[in-house]
């Protein structure tokens, strides 16, 4: 029997969504390993976030580490902390976010164990499923390390329910190594729209959008309504509807948002290669035989000139 530790990413007040998904993955693993789920919440002042973690049904214990050196999520002090308190766990899970990806391998090396990155499934206590070759293949990997060090792809697991639990909160601390790295500042995305590869929602237009003007009035308007990033197919970029850096697909960006809305997109494999890991795909196209419908969870056969404004209006209700 071994317990599972989740390293939570939080904003001081509550846990990030990706942390909830990681906790839900940890429940599966704890069941397989026959242990409890503990959550580490570390920060400058993180009690509120720890209390939120304690309310998650199924979490047995919350470890709270407070201190200035943990204030900005720097990997160096955090890894030292986890390496000190984490050695006895059967598994240590982090969300596969920029926070977790930065931190987790540093802990693994300090514990002298390997890591399994970006897992999308748990087969057993020591065996995991993870994508390789940019999602073009999926590997089932068994780890022989005593501590399974894992980062979890959030979209592959449902978020854990944020209430119903009463975990104990226990303060932990560790010697802080000499600070050789310093946080200077953070620049949150300047544009109102999130970055394409990191966005939770993406709205993309294809050649069916018809013109650069339509791209602005239809695609960008819907994206702003949803707080989404904007993307485009190569055909739309080629036709001059929008900028090159918005291109999604084989020769563009690979994205895996929670919601992907394709408007006027034909669904050529070159484009689908860039979106196939999206959680939910919506396709709106007037051609009911368009290939995009073969990969869409929800398809709407409609003229985008009417459907997109209607969609904006419906979302405002």
């Amino acid at each position: 029997m071994a317990h599972v530790l989740v390293i939570a990413e939080h904003d001081g007040a509550g846990l990030q969504a990706a942390s909830l998904c990681t906790i839900s993955a940890s429940f599966q693993l704890a069941k397989a390993q026959g242990g409890e789920v503990h959550v580490l919440v570390a920060g400058g002042s993180a009690r509120q976030a720890a209390e939120a973690a304690a309310k998650i049904d199924g979490v047995a214990k919350v470890l709270l580490a407070e201190g200035d050196s943990y204030a900005h999520g720097l990997a160096e002090p955090l890894a030292a902390l986890v390496a000190e308190i984490g050695g006895g766990y059967g598994a240590i899970l982090s969300p596969a976010t920029s926070f977790g990806k930065n931190l987790s391998p540093r802990i693994a090396a300090l514990l002298d164990v390997g890591q399994l990155s970006d897992i999308i499934g748990i087969v057993s206590a020591d065996t995991f499923i993870r994508p390789i070759y940019a999602g073009n293949a999926v590997a089932t990997v068994q780890s022989s390390d005593c501590v399974k060090m894992v980062t979890v792809r959030a979209t592959a697991f449902e978020p854990a329910k944020a209430d119903g639990g009463h975990a104990v909160i226990e303060a932990v601390s560790a010697a802080v190594p000499d600070a050789r790295s310093r946080f200077i500042d953070q620049q949150l995305s300047k544009s109102l729209r999130p970055e394409l590869t990191a966005a939770r929602v993406v709205v993309a237009g294809g050649r069916g959008i018809g013109s650069a003007e339509n791209f602005k009035t239809l695609i960008e308007a819907l994206a702003d309504k949803l707080g989404a990033a904007v993307g485009a197919t190569r055909a739309a970029v080629d036709a001059g509807f929008t900028a090159n850096e918005l291109q999604i697909g084989q020769t563009g960006k690979i994205i895996a948002p929670e919601l992907y809305i394709a408007a006027g997109v034909s669904g050529a494999i070159q484009h689908v290669a860039g979106i196939k890991d999206s959680k939910v795909i919506v396709a709106i196209n007037k051609d009911e035989e368009a290939l995009i419908f073969q990969v869409a969870d929800y398809g709407l056969v409609a003229d985008i000139n009417q459907a997109l404004p209607e969609l904006c209006a419906e979302l405002s209700k």
Binding site: S98, K101, A109, Y133, V138, R180, R182, Q187, K190, V280
Partner: protein
């Protein structure tokens, strides 16, 4: 200042990936291999630092089969000064790679190690962080800009919500994101020049590193094909489904 750059030989990012029918792995027979694109960015950054007078020597290191010499020669043609190949056949896990690199770092004593943030075959995104941990050095991962300031290295890092700047004391480990720079084209004359540059080879045994696998790949499969979902009749129905069924808005 001396910079060490680690590069990996990987299946070219344009190659079509085919999973072997027996599920034992990827069929890499006769596929084109290239320098890992993120590592190419790492080499370019080191060369730019050298051109800017910040770096005096660039040592490029690879861990892999004998053919990884091609990858190293490519890095030398971009502007590396000399190369070291740690010859290993078969896959080496990131932790073992980090240990091999630590051994090289201990003998080369660079002030800066730059790596790609991940290799595009295994997609692990671990080696740089592990190396920093083993050396006890600070790390600047997913870097999109570097700047030296008052003897420290300011690194702009790409994080999910935007950018973050951290300041690192040297020596440090940097992992490169694609936006750090656009690598140059190698020219024919530089390929010729690079041929004369020294390339040393060594082995894990010589470096005293155990590279035994800790993980076992049980099977490799093609990703599950997406299936067509349902057609909705109206925008209102679509929004209702997204809200209540898919719960994504």
């Amino acid at each position: 200042m001396k910079a060490l750059v680690a590069v990996k030989r990987v299946v070219d990012y344009n190659a079509t990936i085919l999973v072997k029918a027996d599920g034992s792995g990827i069929d890499t027979n006769n596929l084109k291999f290239s320098i890992n694109p993120f590592d190419e960015v790492a080499v370019e950054e080191a060369v730019r630092l050298k051109e800017a007078g910040m770096v005096s020597e660039i040592v490029v290191v690879s861990i892999g089969p004998a053919q990884a010499q091609d990858t190293l020669r490519n890095a030398l043609a971009m502007g590396g000064d000399r190369a070291i190949l740690v010859t290993v056949d078969g896959d080496v896990e990131p932790l073992a790679v980090a240990k091999l690199l630590r051994a090289v770092v201990e003998s080369e004593k660079p002030d800066l190690v730059i790596l790609g943030k991940q290799a595009i075959d295994g997609d692990c995104n671990q080696t740089g962080q592990m190396l920093a941990a083993l050396l006890g050095w600070p790390q600047g991962t997913f870097a999109s800009a570097l700047a030296f300031k008052d003897g420290e290295l300011n690194v702009i890092r790409e994080i999910d919500s935007g950018n973050e700047t951290v300041s690192l004391q040297l020596p440090a480990v940097i992992t490169a994101d694609l936006r750090l720079n656009t690598p140059r084209y190698v020219s024919l004359p530089n390929i010729m020049k690079a041929k004369k540059k020294p390339l040393a080879t060594t082995t894990p045994a010589t470096l005293g590193v155990d590279v035994a696998a800790r993980q076992r790949v049980l099977k490799v499969e093609p990703p599950a094909k997406r299936k067509a979902g349902i057609k909705v009749g109206s925008v209102a129905e679509l929004v209702a489904k997204l809200k209540n069924e898919a719960k994504v808005i």
